[in-house]
Symmetry: C2
Subunit: 478 residues, 2 copies
């Protein structure tokens, strides 16, 4: 294994006290037994190339042997080429001495190369993640957190974070939240899974929606009722008969519409009348570019709507930090489901997020990001208006993506995406979002937050040029 | 909400750009509309006490209003006592102005006070968590990790960590591991849940074992077959008919025995013959106090044994970092179950652990911890031998706890624990570990790693004195 992973020049000479599992058969003598055991461990791949062994002194102490016995075995294996000894680097398994008796484990394929121009939907600009501020928050957490925070904690999550979120969600998103109604979880995926785990009956889901969300609900054994989506958002009247309805009111996850006020009211009525649960996925709720933000649906009926938010767009998806604000009757069953899923989410990053929220760092980051994404959106809309005017652009008021409804005569999504790939441009089609993609007109989801700053203009240019080439002649720029 | 959470003196004067969701009805004028909306938000508890509002300039800009309109509304609400304005601290919701129209959300009960002397099993000494080294690893990660690490990643976990773990587990635990066979997950709880999700049929589980592990298996809809435990560990012949068997070979989770060599062989034969899966919970595998560590069972049959390890004892349970090393046929289904559970575990702490392992920091920490825990164990055994010689002490060779088998005539566990609580001493009984606790003789699990260093001697003294008082007269110290 090449030791290509940041070592900061440490390691050399500091590896004396390393654990080595070795159980030599000493019937022919200790040194010979140790040599055989090490040869076999290297041959089988258990000790991989470049693995540093403990010093002969340390291993001898662990085995209760004389140091010379271990040093003799190491010397013999160095002479045979199994090990190599470098001054200051200790004794390591030699790079070319892995002679697998069986088949060696296949080298893992390298991750697919990131496309040069990436307008796929679903990620914020991770290049603007506030690394230094997050590191500082983690440093404060590790300095100040009580020891108790390092133990197995409350399945609901750290109280510090739940308090900070209750205040933040009330202020910034209009959510009626209290710390004891909040369960911190690992991304919206887990939030949905926990809700599904406590639901009996069909789940109404927007059509289109994220395919993985349907898979989560299906994996819980629940049937799905599609909710068609139009310019007023989900057509909630189709939820009749379902036990739960999952909606993205702020910015419909695929088409970008905002759920209309009368549909919000109707959905809440449905929940009140039937005892059904609404799961509000506050997708992109933080990113609204016109003046009036849309408040959370949850505030209309906190006892019927479970609110879900995440740090995935506001900060980074890799944090896997999300939160549910629950109706009282769901708190206990969801907490129990969380406890059986993974006991609780990791504590230190919860505390870092609490620090981030309380210090106002999250607000500052969001306001900077909002201004930057708005500029990107405007640049994208300008380019589309000039270069592909026949394309209808949906969902521009909020979120990190817009959706293109392609004109009649446009090629199918797969063909457009393949042509884009030829130009080093990655795009998201809508096909996988539909419950049944057959016969759906082609759409593209353009995640304008995805590229790093330096690649954004290039990505827009590639896209405009691609659409100019691919759209039917009649619909090209006027 | 008292702002008691570490602010480092930041905040004041930096809160100008904070998001505030407010949707005033302006039919009677903007200022009056804003005043009504803010009063209602405070009255309902949505804006909680001590919440800082944006500056009048920032809110005016967000609303597209003149600053004076917002400043006028703020001034009026300060005069009415809803808000308070302090030089340098901005405008905050006044502490005593929360007049809930409905019932206010109940204040969350404070966490139960930690017992003064804690010998409960299940936690390492979190007081010795290497905070500075972990913070340094996180700082390096945040400095060096590629942006791609902040996006949604491979459900198997970060390749850097899987590489580091493959080398480490091979070297230190004798596991036959390759990065592509590893799935990083959130604690052993999730590891077990993922295995259960891909299992059809009964699961053989040690009796006694952790109650929560039975609950996880039951929640997956699988029946449980108890495996009785004796001094040779689990009696694996009882697994016949099961589809999977969960065992703790290194240190039986409740009674502390090591799985005997002939039982290891027999369990592997069972798996080979029936196609059953063995889940090896390498519980306390890092903490062995005699000279010969016991290698992982997995190495005997990597295509039949799934190996599970965690950072919970080696570092801290709150990290929720665990790993499965899987037979090839289970990799794809388990990865899919992980993807649907929470997509992937959080990335930054995975990278920090990779750094920790590669730099040898984990080995150093473990070797220091092992020496310290061994001294604690010895002190505990000495005290028990002197003060409660009739008590049989099990599982002393490894792990972070010993188990006391109490002599005939001892009071029931619940009584002993209640008497201990009177002396500010917390103990773990074995009752909840049994599949059926009825008629089981009383045992105590003593987690000698749990207390901080300064409380350890006191805890042992309380325990010895308690046992001296409670054990039947005939069995007290000779």
């Amino acid at each position: 294994m090449p030791s290509d992973w940041s070592n900061d020049g440490r390691g050399a000479g500091r590896a004396a006290g390393r654990d080595l599992f070795v159980a030599p058969d000493v019937t022919g003598g200790r040194q010979a037994g140790l040599e055989r055991a090490l040869r076999e461990a290297i041959r089988s791949g258990r000790l991989s190339a470049a693995t540093r062994l403990p010093s002969s002194r340390a291993l001898a102490a662990d085995l209760g042997w004389a140091r010379g016995t271990v040093a003799g075995a190491y010397g013999q294996l160095v002479a045979e080429g199994w090990l190599s000894a470098r001054a200051g680097a200790g004794t390591v398994v030699a790079a070319d001495q892995r002679r697998a008796a069986g088949s060696p484990p296949p080298a893992e394929a390298p991750a697919p190369r990131a496309p040069r121009y990436d307008l796929r939907a679903g990620n914020p600009d991770v290049g603007s993640f506030p690394r230094a501020a997050w590191a500082a928050a983690l440093r404060r957490v590790l300095r100040d957190a009580p020891d108790e925070a390092l133990r197995l904690g409350d399945p609901r999550g750290r109280l510090e974070l739940r308090r900070a979120l209750a205040a933040y969600l009330g202020r910034a998103r209009g959510v009626a939240a209290a710390p004891e109604r909040i369960v911190v979880c690992s991304g919206f995926t887990q939030a949905l899974g926990l809700l599904a785990a406590v639901t009996s009956g069909a789940v109404a889901m927007e059509d289109p929606c994220l395919a993985v969300h349907r898979e989560v609900v299906r994996a819980a054994g629940l049937p799905i009722v599609p909710l068609p989506v139009d310019e007023g958002g989900a057509r909630v009247e189709h939820a009749d008969g379902a036990a739960a309805a999952v909606v993205t009111p702020a910015h419909q996850v695929a088409l970008g519409h905002t759920l209309a006020p009368e549909r919000r009211a109707r959905l809440v009525e449905w929940a009140r009348a039937t005892g059904g649960v609404v799961l509000e996925d506050d997708y992109d709720g933080e990113f609204r570019y016109d003046r009036q933000p849309v408040g959370a649906l949850q505030a209309l009926a906190p006892e019927h709507v479970a609110y879900a938010g995440t740090a995935s767009k506001a900060l980074a998806p890799a944090l896997r930090l999300a939160w549910l604000v629950l109706p009282e009757r769901l708190v206990e069953p969801v907490v129990e489901a969380k406890r059986l899923a993974d006991h609780a989410s990791p504590a230190l990053e919860q505390l870092a997020l609490a620090d981030f929220v309380e210090s106002g760092e999250l607000d500052r980051h969001l306001r900077r990001a909002r201004a930057r994404y708005r500029r990107r959106r405007d640049a994208l809309l300008t380019a589309l208006a000039e270069r592909a005017p026949a394309v209808e652009v949906l969902g521009i008021a909020a979120g990190l993506h817009v959706t293109l409804a392609l004109p009649p005569g446009a090629p199918p999504e797969a063909e457009i995406r393949a042509a884009a790939a030829q130009r080093a441009l990655a795009l998201t089609g809508l096909a996988r979002f539909w419950h049944d993609p057959a016969g759906r007109p082609p759409h593209l989801l353009l995640g304008y937050a995805t590229p790093p700053d330096h690649a954004f203009a290039g990505a827009v240019e590639r896209l405009a040029s691609l659409l100019g080439d691919l759209m039917p002649a009649a619909s090209r720029g006027s």
